[in-house]
Symmetry: D2
Subunit: 397 residues, 4 copies
Amino acid sequence: MPGRPALFIPGPTNMPDAVRRAMDVALEDHRSPDFPAFTLGLFQDLKKVFKTRNGQAFIFPASGTGGWEAAITNTLSPGDKVLAARIGQFSHLWIDLCQRHGLDVDAVDVEWGEGTPVERFAEKLAADTKRQIKAVLVCHNETATGVTSDVAAVRKAMDAVGHPALLYVDGVSSVASIDFRMDEWDVDLAVAGSQKGFMLPPRLALVAASPKALEAARTPKCARCFFDFADMTRTNKDGYFPYTPATTLLRGLRASLDLLLAEGLENVFDRHHRLAEGVRKAVAAWELKLCAKQPRWYSDTVSAIRVPDGFDANEVVKIAYHRYGLSLGVGLSKVAGKVFRIGHLGDLNELMVLTALAGSEMALRDAGIPLALGSGVAAAQEHFRQTAHALDVARAA
Amino acid sequence: MPGRPALFIPGPTNMPDAVRRAMDVALEDHRSPDFPAFTLGLFQDLKKVFKTRNGQAFIFPASGTGGWEAAITNTLSPGDKVLAARIGQFSHLWIDLCQRHGLDVDAVDVEWGEGTPVERFAEKLAADTKRQIKAVLVCHNETATGVTSDVAAVRKAMDAVGHPALLYVDGVSSVASIDFRMDEWDVDLAVAGSQKGFMLPPRLALVAASPKALEAARTPKCARCFFDFADMTRTNKDGYFPYTPATTLLRGLRASLDLLLAEGLENVFDRHHRLAEGVRKAVAAWELKLCAKQPRWYSDTVSAIRVPDGFDANEVVKIAYHRYGLSLGVGLSKVAGKVFRIGHLGDLNELMVLTALAGSEMALRDAGIPLALGSGVAAAQEHFRQTAHALDVARAA
Amino acid sequence: MPGRPALFIPGPTNMPDAVRRAMDVALEDHRSPDFPAFTLGLFQDLKKVFKTRNGQAFIFPASGTGGWEAAITNTLSPGDKVLAARIGQFSHLWIDLCQRHGLDVDAVDVEWGEGTPVERFAEKLAADTKRQIKAVLVCHNETATGVTSDVAAVRKAMDAVGHPALLYVDGVSSVASIDFRMDEWDVDLAVAGSQKGFMLPPRLALVAASPKALEAARTPKCARCFFDFADMTRTNKDGYFPYTPATTLLRGLRASLDLLLAEGLENVFDRHHRLAEGVRKAVAAWELKLCAKQPRWYSDTVSAIRVPDGFDANEVVKIAYHRYGLSLGVGLSKVAGKVFRIGHLGDLNELMVLTALAGSEMALRDAGIPLALGSGVAAAQEHFRQTAHALDVARAA
Amino acid sequence: MPGRPALFIPGPTNMPDAVRRAMDVALEDHRSPDFPAFTLGLFQDLKKVFKTRNGQAFIFPASGTGGWEAAITNTLSPGDKVLAARIGQFSHLWIDLCQRHGLDVDAVDVEWGEGTPVERFAEKLAADTKRQIKAVLVCHNETATGVTSDVAAVRKAMDAVGHPALLYVDGVSSVASIDFRMDEWDVDLAVAGSQKGFMLPPRLALVAASPKALEAARTPKCARCFFDFADMTRTNKDGYFPYTPATTLLRGLRASLDLLLAEGLENVFDRHHRLAEGVRKAVAAWELKLCAKQPRWYSDTVSAIRVPDGFDANEVVKIAYHRYGLSLGVGLSKVAGKVFRIGHLGDLNELMVLTALAGSEMALRDAGIPLALGSGVAAAQEHFRQTAHALDVARAA
């Protein structure tokens, strides 16, 4: 099909040219004397993106799933009790991973579209007077439902009862796009992936661990080798890796970090919020509903949009792909066929969002769903125009 | 500015990934024994795009201006009489080039927005009983005004009086995008550029010459060396070039020709027409007017759109660029400030056109021009949806 | 430093332009309807490179270490007895990995420079009348010492006593460079990495499993999730992956497989042997010794070269890097400072090998080691010239 | 053929990765408001490479031939008398170009292998009491014979008799590789090409003109349009171009200038000299002769090497290409079959030169020419080793 494909799944995202080119290099010697000068800066800047001064950053040549596994296996032992919530497909999969490693997961089910149930967590933590819960898992942004949970509130609930469990956060689709504050929220293990806000190909699991988490990792836990923190720590401190690292991707990470820090993390978050608001204005104009049940859970990186009863969301996604070259996300598991998803994260601007909306409108109409063509686009345009002035002022300042 | 810039000037156009990658190669030996096997195919396929079997194709490492110069200097002598029309900035510049080479140009002026005046040409050709006119120049697609001229009609007018002048066509923004038929229309010299329908960087002048033109080139004409046909012919026949050719661009040309021929030239033309119609539907919905005065002159590769009196089109272009990252074309010379231009040629699809329209709408409104946001987008969407079905059927067939 | 760096470590290797460009693409939707048409062919062709018809190929977004872990954790349970040999640093690390997963490894130590001790293995297998040994590990090519082991002989030893253990092969630096025959040698689990013979960046673990291995994997084994065979099998059969795959690397793998199969695996092996012989002729001319103790163990992908007593091999490597831009491999662990390594695998030809030899000669001399400049180069040149004729004939045929 | 091809023709040269990647960008709007900020710096830095403060730099999207044409047609009129020497194929072609533009060339013939005959020039200039000679042409580095002429001496000869002619220098294969001093030598027009010392693809003609040359260009001269200085000057001063410029190549030029200025021009020249000396040591070791007749003419960018009588140099080039993937330059015109050429310019280091020498040795021997394998390599190695220490010291300083 002629023309550039339009990629609006919630990751992989659109890679900036600067990142693409940074990775288009010859292979290099990962044991060369010059290598550490390059890698040591990566760890430093990665910590800035996680907003941690005290923690340690790890770079695994794996996917987000690998990041989850690294966080879990280094710090927990088979049989350990874990508190988690199943708020969508990805939080479900993390729970499944824990169970495969022999952990005893207390998985709280909520209706998909809701965030992590802070009050239920608070009750359970208070009730756990024997401190059997060793880990509390929070999916910061559930990519399947477009729901952002309140990590700070979970921390507050833990602190309220002085619970010593470690706090684990899946930030795969939030870190570098939605404000995440590792130190301030006292998060112990945070996991991000390269193919979302970092605007890189999918292949790096970025993990941050607090001093408390690192302390926990010192005693024998789950079996692991590829994902071992200690091997990494021992070699990373000199700028090397325990096995051949993904050198080209590390070069891309350098470019990614440069872009993020040059724009400024707060500006990156504001931009994501502004663009996400445009999408939500469009959804409202279409008279459709988000999967996320309340505004406080609206995600600034992905919107899962419900199609009216009687329609098949998969049909919308198929038409968008085959007829207009637009990749949208399908609904997964419990919401399969009920929602389609627009990813609006990474290297994105107003016109790109309008492209996704214009294409979605056509696909929705082609699938028989009634809405006025151009209505969502117009609502988003209006929002972008109104907020552009403030932006101009800010940019000029 | 984050996100991908939106390039909608009438050339350079959006380069397909396959073309970009084809050029991302090491430099090579242009005198190697393997080189001819590669280059000879280029000339063959280039002729297909010009729709000529009888003619010869030339590849100069220069811009379209260089292509004009090659066509003129190889076949005309100082003092030769040339018939041309000044229908916009680019036809004006070609006339200027002829004059610099000492040609005696009879330049017919028309209001910008009109095409080549076939009747005036017919009169002048009929009146030229001494056959002093050696060359008739037609700008197939005037990029400054978005006007397509009727080349076949000019040929008909020449044939009607049996006029032996050579017929020159500037196809820089038409060849490979708008139907051009060198042999059928008996065109003697046709000039194309790499950065328009060929979707390449600006640096190749592609010229085709008829047997009659090549015959004319055998006797001394204007002074030239870099643009000499004979040097090219002598070396090209064995697959080489008289001086170092633009090897990486030739690799890109291979990819470009592969894409054009795989899609099929007629499909390429249909696609351009369909997408251009979408733009025109939007312009109508905005209640604005094209610079092109009549539908028969509407260009399928570029639309020059008039802003209402009292507004400055340059302001629209500036806002689009600075606020939304959208590159539109400014008005040139006589229509400066009066029109802005949307280029809709090359590697383009529906969503890309909608992006340009959505961005233009915001910029127009920001510049104070009254129109309903989303209106142009909706009109184009409706057109694309209605024509998509026919396309699906055709693709499936 | 001006000029192209010379990369001659035993992986990552020199990436062909075709592979580099194949990966230089936009990110894509790994759940798109078109994706399986692309991925299913990868698995098919990957099996050809492993020379297996019966087995199944897996592609993990990890390093070779991850490949080892996948092979082990899917098919063995904590406490299982494993027979292995510590013939160099990488076989040592694989043993270490097994131990971390709770396996009971019977690790046979040999002097570094020797291959897997087939006779010792035969004795132990014969002695294991209770069939407690569940796994036999062979490092086909030990990258640390430049030693190739005889996998077929180990299989023969197992068959001689009808031992039912699974046979595991580390083919990270052999598969796609040195003849490896999964089905013929009845190998159960084979592991390769992308950054060696596959000429790709380091990030794909390529694993092949026999039907017997897959059968073993059906019952609960070591804890795992990221490296789980079953998740892969369930999704791979439709062309998808259980988590976001390394899409750009998969595009590169396509190009790599195309190159390997176009050259022909046997030709690839012959080329590696011929080039390796050139290196060995040079080493002989320098009057130095390989780490590999006997010709039957000489590796066709990497040569570990001993420096004379009293000299520091690390010094040679440092000079080569800093003064001549040549990356050689250092000696690891037991042979640190005693050997330096030349990697001669992947996308390589005669002139590239001569470059490594010419640079090594200068560095060796600069480090004070006596040898005649040009002597190794001349020996390799002579070998390449003598064998070039046969090659010309073969190519012409 | 597997492995990287070895490119050692005297241009195009080996492109550094940084330059390649700088050009691997999306197409851009050459009329955007941001464009001048980028282009104006190019002109400034280009002047540094030409070593001119007073002159003006031009960038034409053409080859070196186009650069010659620009220099000539803007400053001379048909019938003007030109003094030049035919010292090789490229100086011959420049003379031919002048003649095609109607200039009256007094072409002094010398034996190929000699430089511009300064004394003959001095006599002719002295004899030209009517000052009919308007232009003196010097080929700074004749690529066909590997001969560098003494530009300063020609200027001295002109000054000695106070001759007012303009001094033209073909610096295509010298500028950015061999010391060239536009202002100090009072050169009026200098021409360079992108594909030599600038390490770029062939497609930019880089021209510098002195104030005196620009003054000459103000009155009507040869017919021209594409190569017109005035059009360039008018638009360049604001950072734009009269027609679509080669944007991607301009991005590459930025990277090239950055590399040259970061290394330091004097270091670049020293490096070329040191590497060229290595080649010459090898030629001596082979007991062959250079085409250049005297050391004062030896070129630091290209060596034309004579094969012994009775042998065909083309055969050597063919064998090198087909058997070893090594591109050498053939002999042109008068020295066809008698010499082969090694280009040693651009992004080059010691190991790359040794590669070319090692390959040449094999090809020479395969062609039956007697020499000791490794002998040239050893001679160059010895030279590189001896001079490396001084370099280390300089680098450390």
